[in-house]
Amino acid sequence: MAINDMVEIRWHGRGGQGAKMACMLLADVAGLQGKFVQGFPEYGPERMGAPITAYNRISEKRCTVHSNIYYPDYVVVVDESLLDSVNVTGGLKEDGAIIINTPLSPQEMRPRLQGWTGKVCTIDARRISEENLGKNIPNTPMLAAAVKVSGVLETERFLADIEESFKHKFASKPQVIEGNMATLIKSLEEVQEG
């Protein structure tokens, strides 16, 4: 299939932060909207805090390619400290964007991105998460930021569909749904593009 009618996203996080979960949620919600999707993690040694990578392909036709993603349209960095140890912009397409979890602005982050000249987006996922969920679970804000920046899904419908998805996922603890939805809405508003 033609590669250009497909959006490819690479997630960088640390074990335990939920990057894989966000990647799977994005696949599920995009699938609900009639897209063909892939969401898959790349595992190394399984331990909390170790760098992990996860991938999404979202397309109009089924994609049969099962390799990792080397030339992503978007890169999501769930943990700012990875910028010092992982080449997060590696292969990122020039007209793509990197989305970083940080309280700093895109302008402040750019010098740390090894000469990356494309779009830089930032979001204070930790603060949003702590304000709305009472603890630091950065994956939900990063998911919203990825949807907003990539435009891969229409945001209103994304919110409606993900609420449905949460109702299944959190069937045993419905009290967390409200906080997660508030986190998503806040994140859609707050993500900065620069």
Partner: protein
């Protein structure tokens, strides 16, 4: 029904729809999620399966053997060292003609220890007497598991079936999937009524006793005949399955092979990646094609020979290193299958993707580039080689 499931979720869901009598359950990465999801179905009362937790895979397969011998339907799931620990019992299951169904989530077999995909686990069990069916993606993993029992349980076959999918690449990747309705699945699978079983009081029998030399060879011959008979049954079941699913399966899939001059033969998820390479090459006018082997046991040798007869150069790609010093298992059997052709194409073997080494579309394109050279020059270069490994300088 259009859903999004990982390969492991899909197989667990197929098991739920089948509602087997017994599951022998022991966890090992990357197949752990299968007994994990299934335990949820048991706890929620969605199945009435006897879920037997054990202390090892040797025991989980023993549970399956005992249950199936008693006249029940038994399933299990495993990977890598777990399959290796079942090794003795795999032979017992097959030679007792017990149509157990096992989901093998392919993972490298130690050592060094590694949790990622290759086929060294199931390829090591290729001579155990189990039918082996491999999936490219989550949909095929689901479909293959549903077809396993109608294949294995039929009286002309009566053999256990191993359905295989690539660890993580398929087992942990969420993709779109079409699921069948449960009542349709139940009707397709049918009830299991073996002619002979341990608990049949009208006809008590022993299962798995010592076999003396005057009988042993006859029994092995019967087992070999059953494996031969499985080929026709696999195709019959595929035809029945197509009626309820609209999805068509054969012993292998031929992708753009009509007039192909350069061809790959391979197994599993990499076939999907290779299809994208074939499409690109076809757009450039290269007559490329591929064969994805779905059924490795019984081996479709004659059928492969026919499908590959018109090609000029073939690369057989093995996702396992057999240490034969002469090529991987898929290569050995494919090359043997083509021996009787009047005009044999050039053939090379490429071992790839061990321990989760990733394979890109460009990697496959390079293989086709090499085949194009071979077709023109007639020079194969090294017949048996490896792909994707770093050089000494790169790893220094």
């Amino acid at each position: 029904m259009n859903h999004r499931l990982s390969g492991n979720e899909a197989v667990a869901y197929a098991m739920k729809q089948i509602n087997p009598d017994v599951m022998g359950a022991f966890p090992i990465t990357p197949s752990t999620e299968i007994p994990e999801y299934f335990a949820g179905y048991v706890a929620d009362g969605e199945v009435n399966t006897e879920y037997v937790t054990v202390e090892s895979e040797h025991s989980s397969m023993s549970v399956c053997i005992a249950a199936q011998a008693a006249g029940a339907r038994a399933v299990s799931a495993t990977s890598s060292c777990g399959l290796a620990l079942m090794y003795e019992l795999l032979y017992v299951a097959a030679s007792c003609r017990l149509p157990i169904t096992l989901a093998c989530v392919n993972r490298a077999l130690s050592g060094p220890i590694n949790i990622n995909a290759d086929h060294s686990d199931s390829m090591g069990a290729r001579d155990s007497g189990w039918i082996q069916i491999y999936a490219e993606n989550n949909q095929e993993a689901y479909d293959n598991f549903l077809m396993a029992m109608p294949i294995g349980e039929t009286p002309s076959v009566r053999l256990p079936v191993m359905t295989c999918m690539d660890g993580f690449i398929t087992s942990h990747a969420v993709e779109n999937i079409e699921l069948l309705e449960t009542d349709v699945v139940r009707k397709f699978i049918g009830e299991y009524h073996p002619e002979h079983y341990l608990l049949k009081k009208e006809n008590p029998l022993a299962v798995g006793p010592y076999d003396v030399s005057p009988y042993y060879m006859e029994h092995k011959m019967l087992q070999a005949e059953a494996m031969k008979a499985a080929k026709a049954r696999i195709l019959e079941v595929a035809a029945e399955f197509e009626k309820i699913s609209g999805r068509s399966y054969g012993l292998f899939e031929e992708y753009r092979m009509e007039d192909a001059e350069l061809a790959l033969v391979l197994i599993g998820s990499t076939a999907g990646t290779a299809k994208a390479a074939v499409d690109k090459l076809r757009d450039d006018g290269v007559k490329a094609g591929l064969i994805k082997v779905r059924v490795f046991r019984p081996f479709p040798g004659e059928e492969l020979a026919r499908a590959l007869a018109g090609t000029k150069a073939i690369a057989v790609m093995d996702k396992s290193e057999g240490f034969s010093a002469a090529g991987g298992p898929l290569f050995a059997e494919t090359r043997s299958a083509l021996y009787d052709l009047n005009q044999r194409p050039y053939m090379v073997n490429i071992v790839y993707g061990l321990g989760g080494r990733d394979v890109k579309v460009e990697d496959i394109e390079k293989v086709f580039d090499r085949l194009a050279d071979i077709a023109v020059t007639g020079e194969t270069g090294p017949v048996y080689s490896h792909m994707g490994q770093r050089s000494k300088e790169e790893t220094a």
